[in-house]
């Protein structure tokens, strides 16, 4: 019995040490203690303040881009094989759900060449399914497995790109992750704790959705209507009107007529950085990937003197004139200010998102609200806790100390779990903690009431304590297992906050069985050890 008690004490002391270490490490000073605590116990955005964004990646854009490229390749191949066709296009789709409806429609293949056409498609475009609409028209769609792969890959690349862009904010902690099940949802969750300027974060992620460098046909025009009027109301084939991003409020509108198909996209961009030329004017130097450089070289060689537009998310951020053939590196000169150079190089460098984004959710909690919440939360939490401690001590006297120690240890274990699992404490998580503390109090009360009942029947103190614990044990098991079962379901089927609640609760319940039963019993045993004749227990 004595050995057993020693072993149990060792377990308890080790647990306490491990937990305390998890929360505050080895602080050497008061300031360090506070710092370690704040580093290890991280608060969620709802308490601390910050920005929370859920973006939906428009995967249909990527599917459409893939189809566009395939259509271009197909045209080349058909030309080489002398197969004639009337028209080939890829209709736009508006929603993520329609991504699977993206198709290349090919019209006017002569019936005599249909077998040659089919042969070509099955040989060169094995990831596409070809369906005949009638004797001369066809439709081509990506195979479901390839389509799914493309979608998942698009979201992954978007997560990387957004992560890179957010890095430029220079935040200590941030999180960019896929949100929801891969393959069925295309959302990205961005959390920026403590960011006091959400507009800037959004600007970094959002405005730079798709980067394209396009051939400028004509412009600038003072307005869209003016441009249309000049063109007789109809835009030339394969072109679009794009507005340039206003620099300041005094700038008027400027519209350019550019080619729809970009020369190169952000995907081809390797690196870009701001610099100054010999006249100390700002410029942006950039380098391209091998493949992009080859295409850009061919294009610029043939179009010296023409203009190119850097188009970001359908807004022109810069228009430059091609002065010479540019292969894998070049520069955009004549920028107005350092800021312009920095911004442009940042846009170019951070790469292009593979698809556009829309914001499904945005929450920014100001730092003052966060400070208020923490302040009020602490005041309220302490007031509640003090009341509980006071009542326990008055009502159960000496045994109440057991309960208070168990409660304290329970809280320490919970905080340590938050620290070790790198979790963040959010409001729903705190809901879980409150329920845990409620159940911890309940477990103690259950046991103490049982011991009192046993004492009333005239049992000896030692027998009453043993019986009290063993009888309350099954009740505690049943209540805790029921709650764990419900948490398992909440975790499996719930999402976001509901999951946070379930996780905190399960950890709290395990801690609770340990503290209310194991630790509390050990303290009782210490008190009763070697005092077999004890007739009164302070409970």
């Amino acid at each position: 019995m004595k050995n057993n008690l020693t072993a149990r004490t060792v377990i308890i002391v080790v647990t306490i040490l491990v937990c305390v270490f998890g929360i505050i490490d080895f602080p050497k000073s008061r300031a360090e203690l506070v710092k370690n605590f704040n580093d290890n116990i991280r608060l969620g955005l709802d308490l601390k303040g910050g920005t929370h964004l859920v973006l939906e990646i428009q995967v249909q854009d990527a599917v459409k881009a893939d189809a566009d490229q395939s259509a271009e390749r197909l045209k080349d191949d058909l030309k080489k094989q002398n197969v004639a066709w009337n028209s080939m296009d890829v209709p736009d789709v508006a929603h993520v759900e329609d991504a699977e409806n993206v198709a290349i429609t090919i019209k006017g293949i002569p019936a005599t060449q249909s077998s040659a056409f089919r042969g070509l498609v099955s040989e060169r475009f094995s990831n596409y399914i070809l369906t005949a609409l009638n004797s001369t028209d066809y439709s081509m769609k990506l195979k479901p497995t390839d389509l799914n792969e493309l979608k998942v890959d698009t979201v992954k690349r978007a997560v990387d790109t957004i992560g890179n862009r957010i890095d430029q904010l220079g935040l200590a902690e941030k999180s960019v992750q896929q949100y929801g099940k891969a393959g069925s949802k295309f959302e990205v969750l961005v959390q920026l704790p403590g960011v006091d300027d959400p507009a800037r974060a959004k600007e970094l992620i959002g405005t730079a959705a798709v980067l394209e460098i396009c051939d400028v046909k004509e412009g600038p025009f003072p307005s869209k209507e003016g441009a249309l009027a000049q063109k007789g109301g109809i835009l030339p084939l394969g072109t679009r009107l794009v507005r340039s991003k206003p620099r300041g409020a005094q700038d008027g509108e400027q519209w350019y007529l550019v080619m729809k198909t970009p020369v190169i996209t952000g995907r081809d961009m390797r690196n870009a950085r701001p610099g100054q030329d010999e006249f100390r004017k700002w410029e942006t130097n950039f380098s391209l990937s091998q493949d992009g450089g080859r295409r850009f070289g061919r294009y610029t060689e043939a179009n010296i003197g023409n203009k190119l537009a850097v188009v970001l998310d359908s807004q022109i951020v810069s228009v430059a004139t091609i002065q010479s053939k540019i292969e894998d590196s070049g520069r955009i000169t004549g920028l107005g200010s350092e800021e312009e150079g920095v911004d442009l190089s940042r846009y170019l460098r951070s790469g292009s998102l593979p698809a556009g984004v829309i914001y499904n959710e945005e929450r920014s909690i100001g730092p003052s609200l966060g400070a208020d919440s923490i302040h009020q939360g602490i005041v309220a939490g302490l007031a509640g806790l003090l009341a509980v401690v006071a009542v326990m001590l008055v009502y159960y006297k000496r045994a109440g100390v057991n309960a208070v120690l168990a409660l304290g240890l329970n809280t320490i274990i919970l905080l340590a779990a938050v620290s070790y699992f790198h979790a963040v404490l959010t409001l729903p998580g705190i809901a879980g903690i409150i329920l845990t503390i409620g159940m911890a109090v309940d477990s103690n009360v259950l046991i103490f009431e049982r011991i009192r009942e046993e004492l009333r029947t005239g049992k000896s103190v030692i027998a009453a304590v043993d019986n009290g614990f063993s009888k309350a044990w099954w009740t505690i098991v049943d209540t805790h297992v029921t709650t764990v079962v419900s948490c398992a379901f909440l975790f499996l089927f719930g999402e976001g906050p509901v999951r946070g609640f379930a996780v905190t609760l399960v950890i709290g319940l395990i801690a609770n069985v340990f503290t209310a039963v194991f630790v509390s019993k050990t303290i009782f045993d210490y008190e009763l050890a070697g005092r077999r004749q004890l007739t009164e227990l302070s409970i």
Binding site: A383, S470, F493
Partner: protein, 411 residues
């Protein structure tokens, strides 16, 4: 100290008044929901944009409403509401309806512009200190300080800026500085900095504390998922209790918990509180709490079934409820204390959360005694009447088998 020693109240005899009270409460909740045309959902589930703005004085609601209705930039209806809670006296909520994602973003920006135009000085070229970020304030102060002959090293400047904004954001300022002279007491802030601040910044009489924008896809999905997860969790609990006790105990416990949730939601409608994601967390807490409470009583009934085989079920149940009464009052009372503390001092973020728990714990405690136990009793009386046998004994035999150490527990 012991308050409830060997009590012998006839709880089950008084079940009808409580069952009727429960029915009345449920009906009142439903009626309120019907009258109000459905529950009031928070932005989490409803979608739209919502901005919480704190003013330095009593907010001029009419002026704000007029400013928004005049602007014409915002699509859909704009609502301006003030809080009644004394802690949030000078705060208002401005909300717009749910529209598509792009329009929501535009609405949000327009809301900021309208506020700035009505209460700020957007044309002055100065920076609003009450909405400034660290970067913007630092870059505003750098040159003027150097020009005024107070040059500062970059880390020093960053620290002063961080200190000023920290001071602004901690209570009792809570985001609003009304006079530059307030800052002069801060260490490191000298007259030169104050005059640079005065030259570069102004103090708008408001600050945006929170902005939320929820698109059409998010709300419905969140709600469906949360409801579905809760239903699965209830089914899981039913299965476990049915396995440990008898199926009717599981059913009774789940009905009682369901009853608590319904009444709490009804009370939300009656008191015109909004249902948000936080409230869902509170409802889950209450489900867990109420279930716990019910199981403790059922557990005692199961135990007594083995040692008091001859007693009629109603007497036995009464005895069990009385035996656990002390623990019920203590546990419920202590949890209630914590939750009331949260309700009083927890502030607006915890307000609806603690409201749900205050209602839920009250209802959850009495439902274990007056809803869950009578259901088991009704069922056994009904089957007894039909079979004239004693299924109570059968139940006792089963639980005997499921328990590993009966000889120790029963003396």
């Amino acid at each position: 100290m012991e308050l409830f020693k060997n009590t012998n109240y006839d709880f089950l005899g008084k079940k009808w008044p409580f069952i009727i009270a429960s029915l009345v409460l449920t009906m009142a909740g439903f009626a309120s929901i019907l009258v109000r045309g459905g529950l009031t959902f928070g932005i989490d589930f409803k979608g739209g944009t919502l901005m919480t703005v704190k003013f330095s004085q009593k907010p001029p609601i009419e002026k704000i409403r007029n400013a928004f209705s005049r602007s014409g930039k915002i699509k859909g209806e704009v609502t301006v509401q003030n809080f009644t809670d004394p802690q949030t006296q000078n705060e208002i909520e401005i909300g717009t309806e749910l529209v598509n994602e792009k329009q929501l973003a535009a609405n949000r920006q327009a809301m900021e512009e309208v506020l700035a135009a009505s209460f700020g000085q957007p044309g002055s070229g100065k920076l609003d200190l009450n909405s400034a970020s660290k970067d913007s304030l630092a870059s505003r102060l750098r040159d003027p300080l150097a020009a005024a002959g107070v040059p500062m090293a970059e880390p020093q400047l960053q620290k002063v800026v961080a200190d000023i904004l920290n001071y602004r954001d901690t209570p009792p300022r809570s985001g609003l500085i009304v006079d530059f002279s307030q800052l002069s007491s801060l260490p490191g802030v000298n007259a030169g900095i104050i005059s640079a601040l005065k030259q570069e910044c102004y103090l708008a009489p408001y600050t945006v504390k929170k902005t939320e924008m929820v698109g059409p896809k998010v709300g419905a999905e969140l709600r469906n998922k949360a409801v579905l997860a809760t239903l699965y969790a209830l089914a899981g609990m039913l299965a476990y209790i049915a396995f440990r006790f008898e199926w009717i105990y599981g059913a009774a416990a789940v009905i009682a918990v369901f009853h608590d949730t319904l009444i709490t939601i009804g009370l939300f409608s009656i008191f015109h509180e909004e249902i948000s994601m936080t409230v869902i967390a509170a409802l889950l807490t209450l489900v867990g709490y109420s279930m716990n409470d019910t199981i403790v009583i059922f557990d005692r009934i199961r135990e007594n079934l083995k040692i008091m085989r001859r007693e009629p079920l109603e007497v036995l149940m009464n005895k069990s409820v009385n035996q656990t009464l002390s623990r019920t009052i203590m546990s419920a009372g202590l949890t209630f204390l914590t939750v009331v503390a949260l309700f009083i001092w927890g502030g607006p973020v915890l307000h609806t959360f603690s409201f749900a728990l205050v209602c839920g714990i009250t209802v959850g405690t009495y439902s274990s005694v007056f809803i869950a136990s009578p259901i088991v009793l009704f069922w056994h009386n009904y089957t007894d009447g039909r079979k004239r046998s004693a299924p109570v004994l059968a139940a006792a035999a089963r639980t005997d088998a499921s328990r590993k150490s009966p000889s120790k527990a029963v003396k």
